[in-house]
């Protein structure tokens, strides 16, 4: 799981052009939206595309995204659960 969270951090930094952040700056439980990383709705779309392209997971229900994209950990949990 730790390998997956590290991989997700790297992908998010690259995909969302978070130039000032290093992997070490992102904790597994940092909120991605709101007061945490401060991502917005376009970032949410980028994350949906990333899940599809990198992990073959299509988010069928947009409401599901709110929980899935809460933190790096919730994303990793969702990917693991989808693989089973």
């Amino acid at each position: 799981m730790s390998e997956l969270t590290q991989e997700l951090k790297a992908k998010i930094i690259t995909q969302l052009n978070l130039e000032d952040l290093a992997i070490e700056d992102l904790a597994d439980d940092t909120p991605l939206f709101g007061d945490g990383l401060g991502l917005d709705s376009i970032d949410a779309l980028e994350l949906i595309v990333m899940l599809d392209k990198s992990y073959g997971i299509k988010l069928a229900d947009p409401k599901e995204g709110r929980k899935v994209f809460e933190t790096i950990q919730t994303m990793a949990d969702f990917i693991e659960a989808s693989r089973k």
Binding site: L16, D20, G38, I42, E46, V49, D52, K53
Partner: protein
Amino acid sequence: MIKPIYVHGSGSISIQPTFEPGYCFDSILSFAQNPVPAYEPDYKALIPAMQLRRMNKSMRMAIFASRLALQQADRTAVDAIITGSGLGCLKDSERFVEALLAEEGQSLNPTPFIQSTHNMAAAAIALVLKCKGYNMTYVNNANSFESALLDGMVYLTEHPNDTMLLGGVDEAGERTTQFWDIAGYLKREVPTIPTPLEGAATPGEIAAEGATFFVVSGQPGARTYGKVTAVETSLETDDTVVLLSRFLQKNGLDADAIDAVFMGFNGDSRYDGIYRNLGHSLFPATLQLGFKHLLGEYDTVVASALAIALQLLNEQRIPSSLRLNDVEPKELKRILIYTQRRGKNHGLILVEQ
């Protein structure tokens, strides 16, 4: 009757360090590549990091240059924004189309799509400045900036008390450059900046990129440092001497009334003869200046020529790097800018003190 517009501030990013305070082409960066990327500032000095991360190069250059223009004009807001861009946000357009092909229309990233349009720079400036006024982008190949300028003059004739940001921006794209190379537009034999204009001139252009913005209004002010009194474009012409003669005549001038003429010599041996012919026919006793041999070629590079012309009018000195002849004008009060690209898109701008 369209009235002159007054310039209160300018900011420029190009392949030379034009954004540095006081820079005026006394030292020139040399390049041996094609295309030549812009010499970029530390954008974070004027643009917050969270805004910067979603800006492509055109947007970054446009916002930084417009910030510099606002600083010089001592303004924080404007009533309207007009830009010109020949090719818009080219890299994101290329990225989006390439992804469209690679992914067969599936799972496309939203950011390159959103930012692939020509009007993103004007939109981004409006968002940053919270300007809800007139916002327009002109896409007319190498006359894009002149078209924006003409619209700015019309707008400010109708709203003389308004202040406006007006500029041009274009970026070089990798894939588009490959297409241009195939089409024979680009220099293949050792492209260099500064570009040789006389004996060693070869066919083709050196592609480059940049952004230049101005704060303008319909009224002079304490910080006014020049005015644009006339603009004209012509997609094609049979005779550029006639085109320029008529332009001067329409503005009640003859060639002797022009203190310096800026021409768009870019070292392309196929088209520089147009400028040479004009120089011999109309301006043999006039100071002739160039800029594309130092800045490369892109659709809105003429905006940089306007910024340089305004600087020369204020400083009353002529850097040797810009000179095409040795004529010494008594003073610099009126400068004519004339450019074309590949024999088309002729543009004329008259700048005065």
